[in-house]
Amino acid sequence: MKAVPVPTRASLALRPKQPVNLLLTAAVSAILVLAYLVSAYVSPWSPKRGLGLVFGFLAALLFVFEMLYPARRPKARPFFTARNWIQAHVYLGVVAMLAVVIHAGFSWPHGAFGWWLLLLSAWTTATGLAGVGLQKWIPAALAEGLRVEALYERIPELLEKLLAEADALMEDASDVLERFYRSEVRDALSKVRPSWSYLMDVRGGRDRALEPFRRMAQFVDPEEKEKLEDLTSLYTEKMELDAQYSLQGILRRWLVLHVPPAGLLMALLLIHVFGWVWY
């Protein structure tokens, strides 16, 4: 019997949730590029006239639609589901970027303003797509690799609890163990230590971090071994909370890279449209 290959997390992250939408976007993109090629063959391409202008309008309208994404919350139902909103946001964003490139006739801008428009469009699209990937990757990684689950806002409070628990545990510990706790463990337990490395492996660095505990086991009395194991468990839990905090933080903060530049893009778009209408 042939073994069914287990999909990797990377392939899962790249796999579209709605393959129909991906195909539809690819088809629309192909049609747009084809329209450009035909039009550029029969008449000189200009962003200010004919199909070039149509593409400009299309890109502007799509960008405005993209900016309406926050409106999904109160308006999501009954007309759209939140899932439809995000699908439209992602795929139409890609089409908007393509429309921008076609509007410019697949050529580089000639001035600073044009460059800003193009770079902000590209940045916003790229950060949006990166966000889509992160939103698929991170929750799966957290669910697969960690035992602890915690709301981002609760993590500092949970850490305080862990620290209190550790302090209580070490109250009647031997000098050796307590010294070990004070010098090497307590400081690490007292504050969150976020790290980008969790993005690649949520359990990464754990063996190396627990190595001092294994070494310490050789020096403590047998009756204190259980205390050391409890301390190890507390430290492991703290590391899991670190991973939760890091990855949930990334999930929240990538929006800072996406939304404010999108706002700046809207401002440039407004000036661009004004310039076209007036001049």
């Binding site: 550029a40 063959y41 029969v42 008449s43 000189p44 391409w45 200009s46 200010k48 006239r49 900016m67 926050p70 919350r73 801008p109 000639h110 001035g111 600073a112 303003f113 044009g114 035992r147 602890v148 689950e149 915690a150 709301l151 806002e153 609760r154 409070e157 949970l158 609890k161 259980e226 194991e229 409890d230 468990s233 507390l234 492991t236 839990e237 899991e240 929240r252 929006l255 800072v256 939304v259 404010p260 999108a262 706002g263 700046l264 809207m266 401002a267 440039l268 407004l270 000036i271 004004f274 310039g275 209408v277 007036w278 001049y279």
Partner: protein, 625 residues
């Protein structure tokens, strides 16, 4: 049992966890957007416009870069009148698509029907200081023409099998033979340059230094060494003294041309006069040739003179139109606007009245009116003309008006009659000259088969374009923009002025001399014909002299009028005979000795050389046609 790492959420929260504010980020983004938009708009208003410009303009336009209004009209984009303000200062409309169509097809109706194109659709600005604005996207050409050199039609001059009329009798074969006999060109004191195989041709067809084409053939440079003997081009038979005026007699007429101061030998005996030494372009011969021609064929003379006068009048009009827009103040511009508005209204009325123009009563009554005015002048010649016009009017009155266009010959004849009549009116009453000049220009502007309404419509369209420009200029002045620099306008004016000077000089020569006598007796006519032939005997050895007048010489002038063929780079690649085979056997000056588009395709069609339209063709007609 040792402690285990918690599964799931470790315990309950001590208090309610407040979620993030839903619209925080989008609010920040919108505030940033509003701030940036405000900043950019403010910078635009205070004059710092490069931040929002789509790119730098070319170096030549850099002085007006921050003044968008110099090129952009509000809500109209980069408008043509703003380009024409500097680039077509005389308002000739030379840079319009209509002018391009007229340049290519020669058909005014096609030109009038040609759609307007924005200058900016081909010449795309804001592509940086070093951008080549002249280089255009050739897809624009392909929209009306063909896509590749393979589909390029044969050159019009060959396709129509038209015969170039160089005005000379020039058999290439014997000239090539004679030059070859003289040995190499270097021995003859002539260096043909690196294209040694082209030495024989280069004896006469010299590449212009730094120019685009070959140096025009000149008698002194290229012909005199063989055709001039003792300073004379030949001899002439004596002519009757009353037909040819000696220099003294010409001086007595009050003509003080430079050439009269130089005395040449004359031989006079038995009522006849001959010139012993005939120079090339001998002024005495030329003057008397014009005199005899005017006497023998007044209609032909009037047509030629009329054409020149029309050309001069056209150029003068262009000069007159060029100055005001650049130099006029606001009041004068308003006056120009008012006069153009009136003119357009008048043209509208005339176009509306065109269907009635073919009404015999209306048309013939105007003819009668002209004849009566001419007769009233009291001059015998004018009286005779008036009589002939009256007779023609009576004849026309009895004839039905033809439904179709006149045949070419009849058309030419009718035109000659009209121009003769205008000449007569001119001579009779100098105060009518501005009116006759205008009429002459209009008579010459009408093409066979064209209705008067077509011409009037074209004129109206041109006036409307002028009016638009005047109004645009007024708007710009009201907006505080200065007129373009005078030097920008002077360039084109200078070209028009030099052509005008040449035309006026030619007209002056034709006008010199005593007035033509009235009708000639057959005896007088025969004698004068003989005198004219004797005068032109030496000239006719080389020059063509149809109907008693020397044909205009255009030897070795470019025949591909719509392209800009440059010989120099081609001569580095190939021998002359590659494109011009059969020159050594050619016996007629009309032979083009040119393979046509096939010779171009040999290199340009194979991909070894460029084959874009702009390499050979120019879109805009020259400044002075």
């Amino acid at each position: 049992m040792p402690r285990q790492v918690s599964w799931g959420t470790p315990g309950r929260a001590a208090h309610y966890v407040f979620p993030r504010r839903a619209y925080l980020l989008i609010s920040v983004a919108l505030v940033l957007a509003a701030g940036l938009a405000f900043l950019l708009m403010s910078s635009h208003v205070v004059g710092f416009r490069s931040a929002v410009a789509p790119g730098s303009v070319i170096s030549a336009h850099a002085p007006v870069e921050t003044s968008c209004e110099e090129c952009h009209a509000p809500r109209s984009g980069a408008s043509n009148p703003r380009c024409q303000r500097c680039h077509d200062a005389s308002g000739a409309g030379r840079l319009s698509n209509g002018a391009h169509v007229l340049f290519g097809s020669g058909d005014p109706r096609k030109a009038a029907a040609a759609p307007d194109l924005y200058c900016a659709s081909c010449h795309v600005e804001h592509r940086g200081r070093q951008a080549a604005l002249r280089v255009v996207n050739e897809v624009q050409c392909v929209r009306c023409h063909f896509r590749s050199l393979r589909a390029h039609p044969e050159f019009a001059v060959l396709r129509a099998k038209s015969v170039e009329a160089p005005g000379l009798k020039y058999p290439h074969d014997c000239h090539v033979r004679e030059i070859a006999k003289k040995g190499s060109c270097k021995e003859a004191g002539f260096d043909p340059g690196p294209a040694a195989s082209a030495a024989t041709c280069a004896r006469c067809h010299e590449p212009a230094q730094g120019g685009r084409d070959l140096v025009p053939i000149s008698f002194d440079r290229h012909c005199a060494s063989c055709h001039l003997k003792d300073g004379s081009v030949g001899s002439m038979d004596p002519v009757a003294q009353e037909d040819a005026l000696p220099t003294e007699a010409i001086r007595a007429l009050g003509i003080t041309a430079d050439w009269l101061r130089r005395g040449d030998a004359f031989e006079a005996s038995r009522g006849k006069v001959a010139k012993t030494l005939l120079r090339h372009k001998d002024e005495w011969v030329v003057f008397n040739m014009w005199k005899l021609r005017r006497e023998l064929d007044p209609a032909g003379f009037a047509t030629e003179r009329g054409a020149l006068m029309a050309r001069a009048s056209q150029l003068q009009r262009r000069l007159a139109l060029a100055a005001p827009l650049a130099g006029l103040d606001r009041e004068a511009l308003r006056a120009r606007e008012a006069s153009l508005t009136l003119e357009i209204q008048g043209l509208g009325r005339r176009i509306a009245a065109q269907p009635k123009a073919l009404d015999p009563a209306g048309a013939l009554s105007r003819l009668e009116e002209i004849a009566a005015a001419a007769a009233a002048a009291g001059d015998d010649t004018v009286k005779a003309d008036a009589e002939s016009i009256r007779a023609r009017a009576a004849e026309l009155r009895s004839q039905p008006i033809p439904a179709e266009a006149l045949p070419a010959d009849a058309y030419d004849q009718r035109r000659k009659e009209l121009l003769t009549a205008l000449d007569a009116i001119d001579a009779a009453d100098a105060s009518l000259k501005p009116r006759t000049e205008d009429l002459r220009r209009r008579v010459l502007a009408v093409t066979p088969g064209a209705a008067g309404a077509d011409l009037l419509t074209r004129v109206r369209d041109q006036r409307q374009a002028d009016l638009l420009r005047v109004r645009d200029e007024l708007r710009l002045r009201e907006g505080g923009l200065a007129p373009p620099r005078a030097s920008l306008l002077a360039a084109e004016q200078g070209r028009v002025q030099s052509v005008l000077a040449a035309v006026q000089q030619q007209l002056q020569r034709m006008s010199e001399g005593p007035p033509a006598p009235g009708s000639l007796t057959s005896e007088q006519r025969e004698r004068k014909k003989g005198s004219l032939e004797a005068l032109l005997a030496a000239c006719s050895k080389c020059h063509l002299a149809p109907s008693g007048s020397l044909a205009k010489v255009s030897a070795a002038r470019p025949v591909l009028v719509r392209s800009t063929f440059v010989h120099a780079p081609h001569l580095l690649q190939a021998d002359c005979s590659r494109c011009h085979p059969g020159v050594a056997k050619s016996r007629q000056s009309q032979d083009l000795n040119f393979k046509g588009i096939a010779s171009c395709r040999e290199c340009h069609g194979s991909g070894s050389a460029k084959q874009d339209c702009q390499s050979c063709h120019r879109y805009h007609p020259p400044a002075v046609p």
